[in-house]
């Protein structure tokens, strides 16, 4: 299986605090991989490092074989590596449909393309994806007026609209009504299976991640603690201790 994302011995510190300490992980094309760990273990920091939010202090990050640790956020995004945010970020004063339309994949843009009307194909795809996440009826509503759960779905749809190769999801089910979580898991699986998008998912909800991921990495105190298939991780003493606090 070709490695799509290779994180090798990445370290990141903020002042005196070591957020990530020589963490290594890999995600193959087409996989769904989970990233778990107690609060403060450095999961979101790792995500931020991967997508270029801040520079890393050591190590290497390669996407499709290409070193990305020195690139800027928009450059990495244009290579096909996107992320969603824990706090869910969307364009609040634009309508859902507009949020989707501005998320079309990057294309060479001269002045003419910059002023062009959205293509019909793009509008159709936007509407399809909105329906995929169940927001079609709300497409003309301002995104800021949606409920939190709906905004999360919109953010997910926008990410799909961008046709990424790989998507980093930061706690996709946090704050979502438990009755809707199954629907979200289904959609994530379909995005992976039908659209071929590789997923790396940070999750706190064990049921979700055990159900969703094919492989799981566990971080604790900024270090990689364990790695393996869901059953292996579930039974790993070290993982249980990390969450419950070993004595």
């Amino acid at each position: 299986m070709t490695a799509l994302l290779e994180v090798e011995a990445v370290s990141k510190r903020f002042g005196g605090v070591v957020a990530n300490d020589t963490v290594s992980l890999g995600v193959g094309a087409g996989e769904i991989v989970g990233l778990i760990g107690p609060n403060g273990s450095g999961k979101t920091t790792l995500f931020n490092s991967i997508v270029g939010y801040h520079p890393i202090d050591g190590g290497s990050i390669r996407f499709r074989g290409r070193e990305i640790s020195k690139l800027r956020v928009p450059q990495i995004a244009r290579l096909g590596l996107l992320r969603t945010f824990q706090q869910t970020r969307i364009y609040r004063r634009m309508t859902c449909l507009q949020n989707m339309l501005i998320s079309v994949p990057d294309a060479p843009e001269g002045p003419i393309a910059m002023f062009a009307r959205p293509a019909d194909a793009a509008v159709e795809r936007a509407e399809e994806l909105l329906e995929f996440v169940g927001l079609y009826a709300k497409r003309r509503l301002r995104a800021g007026d949606l409920s939190f759960g709906q905004q999360k779905l919109l953010e997910f749809a926008m990410a799909l609209m961008n046709e990424p190769t790989m998507l980093l999801l930061d706690e996709p089910t946090a704050g979502i009504n438990p009755t809707l979580i199954n629907g979200l898991i289904e959609r994530l699986k379909r995005a992976n299976a039908d659209l071929g998008i590789t997923l790396l998912v940070i999750e706190h909800n064990m049921r979700v991640i055990m159900n969703l991921a094919q492989r799981i990495y566990c971080l604790a105190h900024g270090e990689l603690l364990a790695e393996g298939r869901p059953e292996e991780i579930r039974n790993d003493r070290r993982v249980v201790d990390a969450y419950l606090g070993a004595h």
Binding site: P74, L82, F85, I90, Y91, Q98, L101, I102, R140
Partner: protein, 328 residues
Amino acid sequence: MSPLARRLAPLLAIGAVALVAPMLLPAFKTQLSFLWIMVCFALTWDIMGGQMGYNSFGNVLFLGVGMYLCAVVQRDAGLGYFPGLFVGLALGAMLAVAVAAVLGSGILGLRGHYFAIGTLGLGIAAGEIASGWDYIGAGSGLVTPQYPGDVDTRKMLFYYSSFALAAATFLTLRHIYGGRFGLAINAIRDDEDKAEAMGLRTTRYKTMAWCVSAVFLGIAGGIVGNMIGFIDPRDVAFAGPTFGVWMVLMAILGGKGTLWGPVVGAVVFHVTQELFWTYLLGWQRVALGLLIVVVVLFFPLGILGWLRERRPELFGHRVDEADGGARP
């Protein structure tokens, strides 16, 4: 009435009124000309501040650049009045765009406060530099050439030029806001980091927005310079405390981030100013400061912004419950 006609009707009505206005109110030709210039000022500010969230306190830079270059061309190019004016306006606009394009990569990397204060500094610095540069008249400024004809025709010429400029600005903005450009700058306003994280070429769009402002302000500069007849570096060309501040106030008053807001704001502001100037005299500028504070504190949405909150359907926002959940 068909939807197309309904959309065009207000524009055509305004256009018709505008065309005959100088005949109906012949004593106010200059004030009416300035009304259209104000509309242009407010609209060009709104691209940056309202639609894109980049509050520029230095758009007056482009006004001054266009004004000076037009005057220099008229003075030195040796063309007749009309060719000189035409070429001057065109070159003034081009230079303004060039300035926006060149400065853009640096200045537009600044955000929030830093962009606002940085552009403030830019506008003032330009005025100070112009005040010392002898080639363009230094502190004494420049005088634009005499119009070869009678006063009345001159006023008509500049009235229709101002109106044409305002109309061109409005129609251009209306067009580009409906395309990818409009979506991009709104996304930058709502969450620039998110836009970057989605791969949007934000620098390109920010610079383009500034260039669009610059081109219309550059032309406005040439027209204003010729209307007033005399270009003072600090009080006319790079007039921060007057034009520069009015640009911001008018757009906010009318409702920033809407297409018609700046137009409404410009009309309300200009008419109010013309009416009260005679009563307030020197206190006018004190009142201006007070007005900014009051509007910003109590009425930050502006007229159309307030309307948009009350009646979002008028602006195209609604929940399509009639469609149910399924696509047709």
